[in-house]
């Protein structure tokens, strides 16, 4: 070392830094009985509490679910045959709401055994087209890109093509002779970003001219610009039903928000108990793929819709955590005693 220094060379000795010498100051966590047990008891308590809370709130939700595949079996049958495509079929279902559904009530349609998460299906869309910038862009939309004449389909793709197109009306019977249509809102049933960012109509004064030169999807009865002719805000790509449908579900059984109950007049506090009926224009065929469809009326709480899974899972996990904590404590105390007796 000296010789190098005397020759004016830096010493070859490695730097004495904590990093190079592996001496970095460090926290060495250790699974001590105290931390583990206290952690487990706290977690367990939290989970148990949360679980019970979740179960209670799920229980407080009022929900009515009506599967109408079988109830409207004649319509179902009709739809099994593609040649009846343009034939209308209506179906009316009477039901009772036994208890008042307070607060916001939401109406969902529910599909069972419908694989919106099927790979080829979920990929079959074009976001650029839906942005309204380039509506003839039908890339990725196979197999629903163009009609046999080569006209681009708008909106293209399998998702759009298979859009749920039943219309459901809800009527309330305060008494046997009176029938009141429950006011339903189709606004604000989509995500804000979907409505304002992801979906845009082509910039044009007239929607139908904007979509000129395009074809409607083969399974659709009317073109995209006629989805809601009364409300231009809800027409074209901006149609809420369309947007909701386009947000593909994760699992083959799913429900999608269809309408919100407009809280006015006697529905200001929710849906009162009593007789109701759904009037359904049955368009969407489900029996062909052994699927089912239904309507759900539901209230929500702080944790969302009615789902006991989370509550139960939380309770069970909390219980397991406590069980683990107790058994660990038992083992720990036993060993401690043993050690003490050994020391004596």
């Amino acid at each position: 070392m000296k010789s190098r220094k005397s020759r004016g060379l830096p010493s070859k000795m490695p730097d004495n830094t904590a990093f190079k010498q592996q001496q970095l100051p460090a926290w060495r966590p250790h699974l001590t009985p105290r931390t583990v047990l206290s952690g487990f008891f706290t977690t367990g308590a939290f989970f148990l509490g949360m679980g019970i809370l979740l179960i209670l709130s799920a229980k407080s939700i009022k929900e009515i679910e009506i599967t109408y595949t079988d109830i409207c079996s004649n319509c179902s049958k009709l739809r099994e045959n593609a040649s009846n495509f343009y034939k209308e079929c209506n179906c009316s279902i009477h039901f009772i709401i036994p208890e008042k559904m307070p607060g916001n009530v939401y109406m969902y349609y529910k599909l069972h055994n419908f694989y919106q998460n099927y790979h080829q299906y979920i990929m079959s869309r074009n976001n650029r087209q839906l942005l309204g910038e380039d509506i003839t862009n039908v890339e990725n939309c196979a197999p629903f890109q163009r009609t046999s004449n080569g006209i681009p389909i708008v909106p293209c793709g399998a998702i759009a093509n298979s859009m749920f197109n039943d219309t459901i009306l809800l009527s309330y019977y305060p008494n046997s002779s009176t029938r009141i249509n429950v006011p339903l809102l189709s606004s604000d049933i989509t995500w804000w970003t979907d409505k304002h960012v992801k979906f845009q109509n082509p910039k044009s004064s007239n929607l139908s001219s904007a979509f000129a030169g395009t074809a409607k999807p083969p399974y659709w009865r009317k073109p995209i610009y006629q989805l809601d002719q009364e409300n231009p805000e809800n027409n074209g790509f901006l149609n809420s039903d369309f947007i909701v449908w386009m947000r593909a579900a994760a699992l083959p059984t799913f429900k999608k928000l269809y309408r919100r109950i407009h809280r006015i007049q006697q529905f200001a506090d929710g849906l009162p108990a009593g007789n109701y009926s759904f009037d359904i224009a049955y368009n969407f065929p489900v029996t062909v793929f052994k699927g089912e469809k239904g309507i759900v009326l539901s209230t929500v709480t702080w944790s969302g819709g009615k789902n006991f899974f989370l509550g139960i899972a939380y309770t069970v996990t909390g219980a397991m955590t406590w069980l683990a904590a107790f058994s660990m404590m038992a083992v720990h105390l036993k060993l401690k005693k043993k050690q003490e007796s050994l020391q004596h």
């Binding site: 790979h119 093509n161 992801k198 083959p252 789902n307 989370l310």
Partner: protein, 1121 residues
């Protein structure tokens, strides 16, 4: 191929000097880059009649090269001429065989006449015909044809590559074998590509994972076919207009490949890269370690290979060289016993024996201007005895100054230096010099000594040379007073039988002292003298001359004559020389043994020397039940010895001696049972090179290995480099153990190459071993740190890393598998494509890398203090197939929780604002976020050493995940690439739902809680040593007590002879014939004369005169002889 054919054809080599065309067929190309350092060394080569500096790689067979003192020999040479008289030259062969004494080589008289005359050397055109290249270091046969004469050549005329020229200012030699043909290179074995056992395991596991992947693909493909058949066909109306994919089997086939692609993340491609990065980091930590830096030689520890680090934590066998590795190659006069009194111990004020350390004050030799400043002695009582003029002490040192083969010389500064052929003698003569008995000069007939300032010239009457049978040497001198004395030094076992009966009492005392010295591993020599009267000597001398004259059985008769006079001697005492171990060798060996690492010493040196080192390193102790020595010269003898050893081993431990039980035992052993545990007691095995040759043969090797592995210590002496490699290979092959070889010299290259890990001692002149090694450092003691700290950490970290990595990839990928059952087996991924791309590279790579590089379970101090911590690595406990399956199971469990908890929570659910949240994108984001959090919590649990870097990486990874998530789900990026980033607004929406967070929290707890429970119970119920030390460490950190852990190596006295003497026969003759004395040295103005000239004493003039006259006489005699 061509090269190989040529080699096969070469049955005899014919090399012509100075004729490159003639020798063209021996040219070769250097291929190995690693040899560059050596290949680029310079050597002076005679080309076209001029000396030119050439790189070693350009030295070719037939070239004549000039070597200078202390230079390394570049190729195997035929010695032509040298600076010394009679064409002698001295070489040190420590690099080749580990022996420390110098060897003499002499040139043929015809060639030695060439001298340093360049022109005649250039004209030299002799042809050497000799054996083809081979690996026998001690044999050479061939002949030189020159000027119509044939001269036989033997090993005495050959200087091998790897030797160092000593005590010879220059010499010329003709290259016979160069480059890879040299005997050294032929001995160095093949370079093999080294891989660690973890590497091999990893490759197997990756193959298994591939198999697993295919299985999953098949399951999902079958699922797809069934689904298609039962559900999909009906559903197809919504999907397809065309008929492609109608056939369920074809669809299944496509699905199989889609899933292979999707699930391929389970085969961690980034694993290999990460492993290399971690290893590189560990290598740098080795390079940067100040505690493995040797300041004296400015040598860093160096990891020359970066791919073997974790194997350092799994070593079971260490094969160590002795010379230069365990020892410093320095002999020091350490202790002595004179007339029944020991000198050399140091006592403190209270009269207790103390260890000599840096604070101990050495004896001040300033009174003696000619003292060697390097010599240190700590016992002041000896110098007092000298000052008091104790005649026995005087006689003792006189003997040391007279009875030896040292040649005095003078260096450029006019200082007296000794040319020694054996370092032991150097130590003894230097000791005498410092204590005032300065050996000044010698001629064939006289020895001049300065005794306490007085020059005395003794007449050398006879020199009774040393050999390995006699184990002693004597001189007979006449002092100026005319008395004739015989001075003898040699092995105590031999000498004690030759003593006069009056010595009984002194003998017992001295032998006690010798035992004590021997127990400390010191090399002892007993010392005795005998007064002879004139007549008796004359009579005996006649006898000797007669014996010398006859040709029949001359050696025996000479020996008998020696025997006759070396009797009735008076014991003077004994010397103890320390073959200085490197610093910290004993502690290192003790610690490594405590870590259950077996250390075998493989040395080319003699058995005695090797055993002495064994004792001084505490590898051999007197508590040992038995030390087996195998030295048979035939296969049968070796077999017999092995059998005997076995009987002792198994007979004692089990009580079964009948053949049946014995066979059973053998079988058990072959089945791999741990018989070692049934054998109690410590045993050691010492085996000689020639016996080892037989023991390594196929029929004996199993028995040999079996016994050797039971023994605590194994020492192989007199082994050739190739045998070293064979021993390593044997253990490697049959024990399936991880081996490490450490050495410094060229003779260790073969074993360094063949062991799993080769370590070279660097900082010395020869670079050969270092170049072949995987790790290098300057001192043997660093091995302890390399293995117990770096190796252990590397292994620990690597195992943790692998476990986590496999876990992580399974947790990540298998979610797709579960999802397959709910998406019609359509190969739909659960996550966003971007997440899949970034997960392994960005979100989770750094925390695990930080753990793999920085993690420490216990700190370095405790790693060294508790060598048992090393055990898990040897037993392969931290990562093996079982651990792998546990990790996989953990991963599968986590993926299960990751998928099914969100599944349950998303099934038929609505958001808190009533909007649906069970869409695919929210599902993907929820699972991805849970996954990132779960694996981050898991790495946080796994990390036991949280440095700043770990904090930054772990928290940073989570932060980076969220920021990338929000960026990719932002409006801006969607506007630019709407098809590439379809998740717009998703993060914002999903992550503002309480529901989603509850899912994430639940997933995390469910995934992690069982792991914590399991770990806690494991620590409480079955704590490993590491856990205990960690706990202790925690207490230590709180209390911070002063550690007094340093173990005192225990030494006990032994009942064996500590005799060892590195000496070669033949020097006596060289001295008495004057062959090795230079004529010019005897000239009054140079060499020895100068020292005498400076003195004023009258006796010196006389001395000079006698030197001159005697020398001229001696020269005559030489000619006559």
């Amino acid at each position: 191929m061509f090269c190989g054919e040529k080699k096969l054809l070469e049955t005899e080599r014919r090399v012509k000097a100075n004729d490159r065309e003639f020798n063209e067929k021996f040219q070769y190309a250097f291929r190995h880059k690693s040899d560059n350092q050596v290949n680029n060394r310079l050597s002076e080569v005679l080309i076209n009649g001029r000396l030119q500096s050439e790189k070693w790689m350009n030295v070719k067979a037939g070239d004549i090269i000039k070597l200078e003192n202390n230079q390394f020999v570049a190729a195997d040479l035929l010695l032509l001429s040298s600076s010394e008289p009679h064409g002698l030259c001295y070489i040190e062969t420590a690099e080749l065989d580990g022996e420390t004494n110098l060897k003499v080589r002499h040139a043929l008289p015809v060639t030695s006449e060439l001298g340093a005359d360049i022109s005649s050397l250039a004209k030299f055109d002799g042809i050497v015909a000799c054996e083809p290249p081979n690996n026998k270091l001690d044999k050479f046969t061939g002949d030189l044809s020159w000027k119509d004469n044939k001269y036989p050549l033997n090993n005495e005329k050959i200087i091998l590559r790897g030797c160092v020229l000593r005590n010879t200012s220059w010499c010329f030699g003709m290259v016979i074998f160069a480059g890879p043909d040299t005997k050294l290179m032929q001995n160095s074995g093949k370079t093999t590509f080294k891989r660690t056992s973890i590497d091999r395991l990893m490759n197997t596991l990756v193959l298994w994972i591939f198999g697993f992947l295919v299985c999953m693909g098949v399951i999902l493909a079958i699922g797809n076919s069934i689904w298609k058949h039962q559900v999909g066909d009906y559903f197809r109306a919504f999907l397809f207009q065309d008929e492609v994919g109608k056939n369920p089997i074809f669809s299944g086939f496509l699905t199989f490949w889609s899933y292979i692609i999707i699930l391929n993340t389970v085969v961690p491609i980034s694993l290999y890269v990460s492993v290399e990065v971690i290893r590189l980091g560990h290598s740098h930590f080795i390079n940067w370690d100040r505690k493995m830096y040797y300041a004296k030689k400015e040598t860093l520890a160096e990891a020359r290979t970066t791919t073997l680090n974790e194997e350092l934590g799994q070593i079971e066998y260490i094969f160590s060289d002795k010379t230069g590795t365990l020892t410093q190659n320095i002999m020091t006069f350490n202790k002595c016993s004179i007339n029944g009194r020991t000198y050399g111990e140091v006592y403190d004020d209270l009269g207790r024996k103390t260890e000599i350390n840096e604070k101990t004050k050495p004896v001040d030799f300033s009174f003696n201007p000619q003292a060697d400043s390097k010599f240190q002695f700590y016992d002041h009582s000896l110098i007092e005895s000298i000052k008091l003029g104790d005649p026995k002490v005087y006689e003792f040192f006189r003997l040391l100054a007279l009875c030896h083969t040292v040649m005095p010389e003078e260096n450029n500064e006019g200082k007296l230096i000794y040319q020694v052929q054996s370092p032991d003698e150097g130590a003894l003569v230097t000791a005498a010099r410092n204590f005032g008995f300065i050996f000044k000069s010698r001629t064939p007939e006289t020895i001049t000594v300065e005794e306490m300032g007085k020059i005395v010239t003794y007449q050398l009457l006879a020199f009774l040379d040393f050999n390995n049978i006699r184990k002693r040497m004597s001189v007979i001198v006449r002092n100026p007073e005319g008395q004739i004395k015989l001075y003898c030094k040699g092995a105590d076992t031999i000498l004690f039988e030759k003593l006069h009966s009056s010595n009984e009492e002194l003998m017992t005392v001295t032998s006690d002292h010798l035992s004590e010295f021997g127990g400390e591993g010191l090399r002892t020599l007993a010392i005795a003298y005998r007064n002879l009267n004139e007549e008796y000597f004359k009579e005996w001398f006649k006898l000797l001359e007669e014996a010398n004259r006859v040709f029949d059985k001359r050696d025996e008769r000479v020996a008998a004559a020696y025997e006759e006079i070396e009797r009735d001697m008076m014991l003077l005492g004994a010397t103890a020389i320390e073959d200085k171990l490197q610093d910290g060798v004993i502690e290192t060996i003790t610690n490594l043994s405590l870590a259950n690492i077996k250390i075998w010493v493989l040395t080319g040196d003699k058995q005695e020397t090797a055993m002495n080192i064994g004792y001084s390193c505490n590898m051999l102790t007197d508590d040992m039940n038995e030390v087996f020595i195998l030295s048979g010269h035939t296969a049968a003898e070796v077999w017999e010895e092995l059998k005997k050893a076995k009987e002792i081993l198994f007979g004692r431990s089990t009580g079964f001696t009948n053949g049946y039980a014995f066979c059973e035992k053998l079988q058990e052993l072959k089945l791999g049972s741990t018989i070692e545990e049934t054998v109690t007691g410590d045993y050691a095995l010492i085996i000689n090179g020639h016996s080892l040759g037989y023991a390594l043969e196929a029929n004996l090797q199993n028995e040999f290995l079996e016994i050797a592995c039971i023994c605590k210590t194994v020492i192989c002496c007199r082994v050739t480099p190739l045998q070293k490699a064979q021993v390593v290979e044997l253990v490697k092959k049959h024990r399936k153990a991880v081996t490490l070889a450490i050495g410094d010299g060229a003779n260790d290259i073969s074993m360094i190459k063949s062991a799993h890990i080769g370590v070279g001692i660097s900082g010395q002149e020869g670079m050969q071993a270092v170049l072949a090694s995987d790790y290098s450092f300057a001192q043997f003691r660093y091995l302890q740190r390399l293995l117990l700290v770096h190796g252990r950490w590397s292994y620990f970290r690597m195992c943790k890393f692998l476990c986590y990595f496999f876990y992580k990839n399974f947790a990540f990928t298998l979610v797709h598998f579960w999802f397959g059952f709910f998406c019609g087996f359509s190969a739909q991924t659960v996550y966003d494509q971007w997440f899949i791309t970034l997960f392994n590279i960005v979100y989770t790579s750094l925390p695990v890398l930080a753990m793999g590089i920085f993690d420490q379970d216990v700190n370095e101090q405790n790693s060294m203090d508790y060598p048992n911590l090393y055990g898990p690595g040897q037993l392969n406990l931290l990562f093996n197939k079982r651990k792998f399956f546990i990790c996989i199971a953990h991963g599968v469990y986590t993926s299960f929780a990751l998928f099914f908890i969100p599944y349950g929570a998303f099934y038929n659910v609505a958001g808190e604002d009533g909007k649906h949240i069970a869409d695919y994108q929210s599902f993907a984001v929820t699972i991805a976020t849970s996954l990132v959090i779960v694996v981050s919590v898991q790495i946080a649990l796994d990390t036991s050493y949280w440095t700043v870097i770990n904090h930054v990486f772990i928290w940073g990874s989570i932060a980076v995940y969220f920021s990338i998530l929000f960026t990719m789900h932002s409006d801006g990026i969607f506007d630019i690439f709407p098809n590439q980033f379809p998740f717009v607004g998703n993060a914002r929406h999903s992550l503002s739902q309480k529901n989603i967070w509850l899912v994430i929290l639940l997933t995390t707890v469910v995934s992690v809680m069982p792991v914590i429970t399991f770990r806690f119970l494991k620590v409480v119920l079955y704590p490993t040593l590491s856990d205990q030390v960690r706990q202790l460490q925690k207490a230590q950190d709180k209390a911070r007590p002063l550690r007094g852990h340093k173990r005192q190596p225990r030494r006990t006295s032994s009942r064996r002879s500590g005799y060892a003497f590195a000496h070669q026969e033949g020097y006596g003759e060289l001295i008495t014939s004057g062959k090795n004395m230079r004529v010019k040295n005897l000239h009054p103005t140079s060499g020895l004369g100068k020292t005498m000239y400076n003195s004023t004493s009258w006796i010196e003039n006389l001395c000079k005169k006698t030197t001159d006259t005697v020398n001229s006489f001696s020269l005559d005699r030489t000619v006559k002889l």
